[in-house]
Amino acid sequence: MLEIHKLNKSYGSHCALSELDLRVQEGEIFGLLGPNGAGKTTLIRIINQIIEQDSGEVRMDGVLLSGASIRKIGYLPEERGLYKKMSVWDQLIYFSRIKGLTALEAKQRVNYWLERFEIASWKGKKIEDLSKGMAQKIQFIATVIHQPRLLILDEPFSGFDPVNAALLKTEIINLKKEGTTILLSTHRMESVELLCDQVAMIHKSKKLLDGSILDIKSRFRPAQIRVTLELGNTALPNQWEVESTEKNRVSLLLPLQGQSPNQLLRELMSFGEILAFQEVFPSMEEIFIQQVNSSVDA
């Protein structure tokens, strides 16, 4: 759905993006991961046509980005705000019209979303009279009001309170079910691990790696196994790392050292009753750090 090819952008002598390639499939949630300053926001601004790339191309549905793409994209910037003195209704109508909806469409869509969030009674309220959480809902509606096919969320969970963050998560999943492609950018990698189908890691203007989360993680084994045992009479080998002990119940984190999980399982059985046995992948953050270090070494 979205193809990015050899994208370059620099500000003066500072290089923000270099030779970046990305491919986002229709209907998936794509995570753009990387620390602050990696170039995520620059990439998002280029997709939104807020700034222009120095070279390279961005295609949507195989077509280079143009004015017509605006209607298809919804964008929630990292830091948010609305016109404080404007009413909820006027504000939402304005944003939908700016995105290219007709007056009639705009009215219908605004009504639909206010009903969907059960907040139709806020219509006449000014933003300054709303709580922060309420304003966040309006902000989200303003982002999706024109039924974008591609939704770009920059650090979506920062700044949202837990209740709204949960609501946002639900809405993201709903929108995905409705067929929306979602590009999610964040530096808090753990927050999106469960949400994203595909991710790309960016560091210092370059792509470090991409693929599905499972792919990446299995590529970055050695995986470890978390085991919970009810100890018998045999003592555990000293080199095994005990995470916690509760009465005679212990939790262990064991590396697979050339064994298959079944071999390990068999070995463990001799020590007592196995209550849990689970493969533990390194977190995306660990993978990221590992990857950054190895690229520095190289």
Partner: protein, 436 residues
């Protein structure tokens, strides 16, 4: 284009719908007539309710006879100064006027005693009356009858006319031209400042709330900037037109109802009838009307609206650029300098040069250079400006507007996305030079 219209519409309605707009628009023009009405009313009331004030005259020369007026009565009962002072202290007299023995050629030592500090009106009244008496006495002493002299006194009044190219004669009056130039110049100055600031505030609001990122993902920064400038300009124009209407109507009513009984004017006439006669003849309503009729109002109004909008657009773009460059209104001060200075120069020179001598070369240049021309040219225009000067000034103003807008749009499109760093003039210059 239709998106620019949406921006204009939002900027316009967001401001016009505010209660503060309604209040400012309706109250501001009411303030002047209201203040006028209150003063007139107080003066009229005071005059009607005032008890007669009695002033004891202690005249050691025996030459003066003071005529009583509606407000002041003079008692001359040959008291000594001490007796008169005592009467004042007892409250039986409002004041005591002491006229010592004096040379009429140089009257000195006249004193007024009172419990209150006497009003300047009273002192002025007394001085004028005494001056007339002394002059009359001295005329008699020189064998001249004041009545004869009064008859000889002549008023000379010059009617000024300007000759048009075809030799047509137009009656002019510098006072009317001055007033028109003054009013138009000040209005343009205020308009640029007040609404320019609103542009800046608006840009800062959108930048600091990051609304601008959503907006510029939907329309080009230039469209956004122009939409804001035009929308706010339309608010100003609306407000101005409502003011013109309200001030016109109200002033007519107030002057119509109360104008006939202006006490200050009467007081002035009493104090100095000759001067009054001269000015009232020059300021004769018919004469002024005649002058006003001779002014080409269509030209004046067209020019006013042109400079009004041209000046606003020229400076509006600069205000927008400053708003885009900074993060908060408090940071804007450092960049306001190049905007404020030419505006202030235009404003000050309106009084110092333009209205004093509209045809001097300083006035000419001020009304040609785009940064000062909106104010300076409006100061000159009612005096009559050759067509080519007007055309040159207007043409340059349009070029100036295009220039500032071009510069501003470059600063704007980069500035609105920059946060956290305080730009300097050098960074601004770099932004202007950047292509994209």
């Amino acid at each position: 284009m239709h998106k620019v219209f949406l921006v204009i519409q939002r900027e316009y309605l967001a401001r016009v719908k505010k209660k503060s707009f309604l209040i400012a628009t309706i109250l501001t023009p009411l303030i002047f007539p209201a203040i006028l009405a209150v003063f007139v009313w107080i003066a009229v009331e005071e005059k009607e309710n005032q008890s007669l004030r009695v002033i004891e005259v202690v005249d050691e020369t025996g030459l003066f006879f003071m005529e009583s007026s509606e407000q002041y009565a003079f008692s001359s009962s040959s008291k000594t100064l001490e007796e008169a002072k005592a009467l004042v202290l007892e409250g039986k007299r409002y004041g005591a006027l002491y006229l010592p023995k004096m040379e009429l050629s140089s009257p000195q030592g006249i004193q007024f005693y009172g419990i209150e500090n006497p009003s300047t009106a009273l002192i002025g009244y007394l001085e004028a009356a005494l001056k007339r008496k002394v002059e009359d006495l001295r005329l008699y002493a020189n064998g001249i009858d004041p009545a004869v002299l009064k008859e000889i006194r002549t008023q000379v009044k010059i009617q000024s006319l300007t000759l048009g190219e075809a030799g047509e004669e137009v009656i002019t009056d510098a006072t009317v031209n001055y007033a028109l130039g003054f009013l138009a110049g000040i209005l343009i100055y205020l308009f640029i400042f007040i609404y320019g600031n609103q542009i800046m505030q608006g840009v800062i609001e959108e930048k600091s709330t990051r609304i601008v990122e959503i907006l510029v993902s939907s329309l080009r920064p230039f469209q956004l900037m122009m939409g804001k400038i035009v929308g706010i300009g339309a608010v100003g124009l609306t407000q101005f037109l409502i003011w013109v209407f309200l001030v016109g109507t109200l002033s007519t009513i107030v002057v119509g109802v109360l104008g006939m009984q202006m006490p200050q004017q009467q007081a002035m006439e009493m104090a100095n009838p000759e001067l009054m006669a001269a000015t009232s003849e020059a300021g004769d309503l018919g004469g002024i009307l005649h002058v006003i009729e001779s002014i080409d109002f269509v030209r004046l109004i067209v020019a006013f609206i042109f400079y009004f909008l041209g000046g606003y657009l020229l400076y509006g773009a600069l205000f927008a650029a400053v708003g885009a460059a900074v993060d908060a209104p408090s940071d804007a001060q450092q960049f306001m300098f190049p905007i404020t200075i030419p505006l202030l120069v235009g404003y000050m020179s309106l009084f110092v040069f333009v209205l004093q001598d509209p045809y001097s070369s300083v006035s000419f240049w001020l009304s040609i250079v785009p940064l000062t021309s909106p104010i300076a040219m409006m100061g000159r225009i009612s005096y009559g400006v050759p067509f080519w000067e007007l055309a040159l000034s207007m043409g340059l103003l349009m070029l100036g507007f295009l220039g500032t807008t071009w510069m501003a749009s470059k600063v704007y499109r980069i500035g609105i996305l920059m946060h956290g760093t305080k730009p300097t003039y050098r960074t601004l210059l770099k932004w202007i030079r950047t292509n994209h």
